[in-house]
Subunit: 516 residues, 2 copies
């Protein structure tokens, strides 16, 4: 009888625990929405990520990004790589680009490097086919993308918009191979052929290129701008996990604001009236269109009662484009006071806006620690409360930012971490300001750049000189030397790739081999 | 103490019940896989659906369809409409095509009728934009597609391959609006531009048409035939619900065997060696390729231990194509002994193979009752044990076949039901054998056809004359009259559409107004 009583009590406990576990599973895991923007510069929002509103901030209208910042941690010193695919692969794998070796954007066509010819240097044999979730695919980084882990842990995983993780003919070209259950409009291409529904987003018989956006036929021939079509698809897709009461991961990777810079008719007039030329007004309208998408999705989350239990991340994949003639004005002035833009290892090319809203957060916070795109992999798994997971083979470079979401801004460990970039590639035909064949390190206030082609290093104190105008390399030789060594050691530890001289096939020296 | 004991016992019962309910929920609902083939003729399998193997059956090799027939009910007298979109819309809505008024195939371009010009008649204002799940979309049938109902009842719903339910620019062009959570390669187009991975399934810059197959970039530039690529996508997609232990609905709607008739290199050699010409060998290879897909998917279901709990349906959307020069040989001989082929209301155009494997079925059965494609809507919901559901506005025409799956073949109610077709359209430029402007009724052994253009009716006894050679209209005037009335009444009850005379705009007469 005693035994029976105990057994009953045991069963009752089991039962109650069982019920609680069932409920907890639904409520415990937060939803995760990542607003991944393409080519959005650090200041291309009306929410400033600098210590003050800059003239650039002032020309943009992004009320929904501002509103999100009210409930989020704003990272002022967040970084990505200078071009898209490397950042996207770092995001999905938690690896630094020097480590995963997808160091330039991937051509939609397989086995086709995107480097331009150079008279002096030859780029290394980098992973020109991008990311692969299965082994032995030539010229890919074989790694576990975190959406696969989320899916295995009960997440309903959705990709909307630009993918650009791998070349056609390889599994990485399909988000369905990277842990996403649902994919709308993501493939191997890195930009849309056309933003207009009237132009079928490029899908016109005899005119379609590889950049024609797939999956959106229901909007063909309508006046639905691409940004809006993808927003509608996102809202449609997240309805299902909300109905199922399942945690979801939405990767909202709208094609905006990448070229072609075509005006979003919903917003362009305002910018023309501000006096911007047609190109810059169009660019601003693409930005505000993206902001509208964010607003619509956040409103839907609130209407559905799931906003509080949703982690929201907002980030760009690289700095703002600063090349003539795609942008107006002299090249490399579009991100001032930051130097240069997309493609460059100066701040204009790699510093990006980053907001992270935690579950239940209704408080504005600012964090000045340097963080980088590969940090999002462990951060997201951490926020999803997934502490045990297996990855194929990658040793993560990113670090979870969760302690920065709750703790104070002051944190020496974080402040003194070193962030690394390595671009052994030729992105543009003219070598620009820190564009083509550069590596760099940021540690604390200082940033060292290594110009492989010219065998020179530069040193800047970012705190005092965010515009990287005052090269301290000669003045602060010991700092320069120390950072050169640190950068070289880190590159070696990853077997990071360097270009070779065309003349003799030998590799360019490491930065610590350069004479000051 | 007694109370406590009872309470414990009660809790224990609850606990056990709870566990059982949890398990039962997972196991109770069967998975549903529909192999929906495009343009496959009634005899284009090595499994005969006639009383004997015909010469046509003998040239095909479809071992996996034969194997499925061992575990299934074979319907010898199953029907669809004579062209694809009407059948596909009937399948999803449970409505007869005369009722839903998508009576011809839909152009991928919105608001564009596909009818050819005719010197005598003008087609009616049919639903040229196809199916719509939302109201007030011009020229669509607004109805609830059954995958939406399955999804609401816990099914994980997947569409792979050809969709062709609605025109571009309308919601029906996207399977994601029709109840599918996952869509791979389905859109507004009705055939693939190209079956070859080497040709990117048509996606070649400057050459892509609206028929270029979307979503399959990972196979571009590879030797993966389209049929195989879609099979791989199906296997990938069903892994997730199997892992989740959720019931799933897979609509596997491979583009094969629709034109362009391109040889599937895996199988074509055999047919060339049989002495078939290159076109017919290619056609046979498309059929065997589809059969291989079925085999691979069934094997996967077995390997995963879910085959027994899976309902499998195999059907074609219309009769086999019988037009020169797409097929070889004189036109309309490709389905003999059936008369004519795709597009025709003679048996060659509308009689289709149908197998239904019930849960746990390991027995071969044959059923001779006349059944039609709209029967699948209520059949599938019945097999999914969904007895309460709401549809927007449609009054179902289809009837659940479930009693035919378990009961005897003899069933007068079923035998004497009337099946209706109405084609007020001009599908091909030459009016063919019962192609363009025809309606028809089958009741019991008899079938009456109404030739609207020539104002004539024909009557056949299908039991004795499956080839529809012996027109009994004059010999059996009372039967002819009775069926003419029945057909007319049914058309009127649906407000079925008839063409009008160009000369005066008046509608053609109903069949019961025709003088014999």
């Amino acid at each position: 009888m005693t035994l029976f009583k105990n057994k009953s009590a045991f069963l009752a406990v089991l039962l109650i625990t069982g019920i609680q576990m069932g409920q907890a599973q639904q409520q415990e895991k937060p939803n995760i929405v990542v607003f991944f923007v393409d080519d959005l510069g650090w200041q291309d929002t009306s929410e400033p990520f600098y210590k003050e509103k800059t003239p650039i901030n002032k020309r943009f209208h992004t009320p929904h990004i501002e509103a999100l910042a009210q409930d989020a941690v704003k990272f002022t010193d967040a970084y990505a790589t200078p071009v898209c695919t490397p950042s996207r692969v770092s995001f999905l794998t938690g690896l630094n680009a020097a480590h995963h070796k997808v160091t330039n954007w991937t051509n939609p066509k397989a086995n086709t490097a995107t480097d331009n010819p150079d008279e002096l240097l030859t780029p290394p044999d980098w992973n020109i086919n991008g990311l692969s979730p299965i082994p032995n695919v030539p010229k890919t980084i074989y790694a576990t993308p975190f959406p696969s882990i989320l899916k295995e842990h009960g997440y309903y995983t959705i990709h909307i918009g630009k993918a650009h993780w791998g070349a056609a003919g390889t599994p990485g070209s399909s988000p369905l191979n990277l842990g996403f259950m649902v994919n709308v409009a993501g493939h191997a291409a890195g930009h849309p052929q056309n933003y207009y529904g009237e132009k079928n987003y490029g899908n016109i018989a005899g005119k379609a290129s590889y950049q024609a956006v797939p999956d959106l036929m229901e909007y063909h021939g309508t006046s639905t701008f691409l940004t809006e079509a993808l927003t509608q698809e996102a809202l449609k897709a997240i309805k299902e996990p909300i109905r199922r009461k399942e945690p979801f991961f939405l990767h909202f990777s709208n094609y905006a604001v990448h070229v072609p810079i075509q005006p979003d008719p919903r917003f362009v007039q305002k910018y023309l009236e501000m006096g911007l030329d047609s190109t810059e007004a169009a660019y601003s309208s693409l930005v505000e269109g993206y902001d509208k998408s964010m607003g619509d999705i956040v409103k839907f989350l609130k209407d559905q009662g799931v906003y509080d239990n949703t982690v929201i991340v907002f980030i760009s994949d690289n700095g703002g484009l600063s090349l003539q003639p795609m942008r107006t004005g002299p090249s490399h002035t579009q991100n001032l006071p930051l130097k240069a833009g997309k493609g460059s290892l100066y701040e204009g090319g790699i510093r990006v806006p980053l907001l992270i809203k935690n579950v239940g957060q209704h408080e504005r916070k600012i964090n000045h620690n340097p963080v980088i795109i590969e940090d999002l992999f462990p951060t997201i798994l951490d926020l999803a409360k997934i502490d045990k997971y297996q990855v194929i083979q990658q040793k993560l470079d990113g670090q979870s930012l969760v302690e920065l979401l709750t703790g104070a801004d002051e944190n020496d460990n974080w402040k003194n971490r070193s962030l690394i970039w390595n671009i052994p590639n030729k992105w543009t035909v003219p070598d620009g300001p820190a564009i083509n064949f550069f590596s760099a390190i940021r540690q604390g206030d200082y940033k060292l750049l290594y110009d492989m082609k010219n065998g020179k290093v530069e040193l800047y104190d970012l705190t005092k000189d965010i515009g990287e105008k005052n090269n301290l390399a000669k003045k602060m030789q010991s700092k320069t030397k120390a950072l050169s060594i640190l950068l070289s050691e880190q590159l070696k530890s990853w077997n990071a790739q360097l270009p070779t001289y065309k003349s003799n096939g030998s590799q360019v020296p490491y930065p610590d081999q350069i004479k000051l």
